[in-house]
């Protein structure tokens, strides 16, 4: 009896502590991303690398058109520049004279994630590494999490996409993570399998995880090195320096920067979901 009921009482302590301090956990790491939109050329290498690393299914034209595709990382392309600081020549010229702006959009791993409290079976939760984890075996497919995600970066297996890997293409599947069946929600896991492998290597070598031990698949293949991954709790890491240089802090819904012209910003910050992907504004000659 103690093991089961104990679990709920012990669980209750964590659970209540979680509520008292506004979702506070005692984090071991706080993994985050920083993406420099001025370096991002929109070449889509990161998205294809994500397909290769995470066993993403290709669904074909009809299902893609019905918006049932599985692109965990999508590179969006916009033609307007809403707040290009007040230049007189607006965008309604008859030529796209300042090119297009690209935005790699993936799960933002919010610290106050709106998808976590609404999952009926607790299939998505915040790990001690500061990641929003999606446990594929626990998900029963109520899909409330995807409805509640303001970024729409949660993708549902509407079909059993087993036909995406006809033999011998199934030999390419990465054994470090599962192939999701129909009825299960999935999303960018910030290459959880790589984090796990790096932690095993570090433990084997008897040392702490250092900055640069873990590279996400998109970061590793990005030709202009626009994507950076790292642990915000580690002051010496490159990612902490970037967040600090752009004066962007976690846990707030409005940054109060001394120099408001710094490029770093977070998307939908006003929703107080506390995202963990720092975007650096794209730069264009006026």
């Amino acid at each position: 009896m103690p093991s089961l009921l104990g679990n709920i009482f012990k669980g209750w302590a964590d659970y209540s502590k979680g509520n008292e301090e506004g979702g506070h956990h005692d984090y071991e790491h706080m993994y985050a991303l920083a993406i420099d939109l001025d370096l991002c050329t929109g070449c889509n290498a990161c998205s294809t690398a994500c397909y290769a690393e995470n066993n993403l299914a290709t669904v074909g034209e009809d299902k893609f058109g019905a918006r049932q595709a599985m692109h965990w990382l999508r590179v969006e392309r916009y033609f307007d520049e809403p707040d290009m600081d007040k230049i007189e020549e607006t965008n309604d010229t008859d030529t796209q004279s300042r090119g297009a702006s690209f935005l790699p959009m993936m799960c933002q791993h919010c610290n106050a994630a709106p998808c976590e409290p609404v999952c009926p079976v607790g299939a998505t939760y915040h790990t001690v590494d500061g990641l929003n984890a999606q446990v594929y075996n626990r998900c029963i497919g109520s899909r409330y999490c995807a409805n509640n995600c303001p970024f729409r970066v949660r993708y549902f297996n509407f079909y059993d996409n087993a036909d995406s890997w006809p033999a011998p293409m199934d030999q390419q599947l990465n054994p470090d993570l599962s192939v999701r069946s129909k009825g299960v929600m999935e999303k960018c896991s910030m290459c959880l399998q790589r984090t796990r492998a790096a932690r095993d290597t570090a433990k084997r070598e008897g040392r702490e995880l250092q900055d640069g031990d873990i590279q996400t698949a998109c970061q590793q293949t990005c030709p202009t090195s626009a994507i950076m991954f790292g642990d915000l709790l580690d002051e010496t890491s490159a990612i902490s320096k970037i967040w600090k240089r752009h004066q962007v802090k976690l846990g707030v819904y409005k940054q109060d920067k001394e120099n408001p012209e710094l490029r770093g910003y977070r998307i939908f910050e006003e929703l107080n979901v506390d995202t963990k992907v720092l975007y650096l504004e794209r730069v264009r000659e006026v």
Partner: protein, 217 residues
Amino acid sequence: MSPDRPKRRPFPWIRSIMAAGVVGALIVLGGQLLEQERVGGESPVTEAGPRVPGAVFPTDTFVGKDVPQPINYSHKLHAGDLGINCLYCHTYARRSKVAGIPPTSKCMGCHTIVATADEKPEIEKLTLMWESGQSPAWNKVNDMPDFVHFSHERHLQKFLFDNPDMNIEDSREVCAMCHGDMVEVGVAKKMRPLTMGFCNTCHENNDGPADCTRCHK
């Protein structure tokens, strides 16, 4: 109410509901106690001290099926009587997720000299396979579902290599935590359920990680 109705005691509704409640409670509590006993709690400390010092040893009464194997190898003889260390054959347990079935070259290392093909029919089968360059197709016994990330290396590191009071000769004790005492078994028999409940309980007792993503791929 017609007077001629025969006098019959009305059905004792209340008492039957109460009785059903009690029986139900007994079943549930009994189930839990069985569960408790099956999953194991404090390890029964035998006089020779805990089998793995510093670890709560999971006990379980689960007994698996006898799985037919291409060669009926005997752990009882090799690991038991001859006292060969587990890690001699299952070398990958020290360095990788999987413990690994020993390559045929390791078996033939001894069996070209000791107990050669002409003495033992099983060894003859093995040697035939060795010469034809085809390794035996063993049937998995302690099989984890594909979505589980279980790393032998991490468990051996905690209970064997980083454990000061544990020396490598008794690696058999650490393996017994999940595989039971292989010394009394033929090829292999599942001695632990290896279900999520079993792993969870052991992790709780030995303060292992409780984060879902540590084990769920």
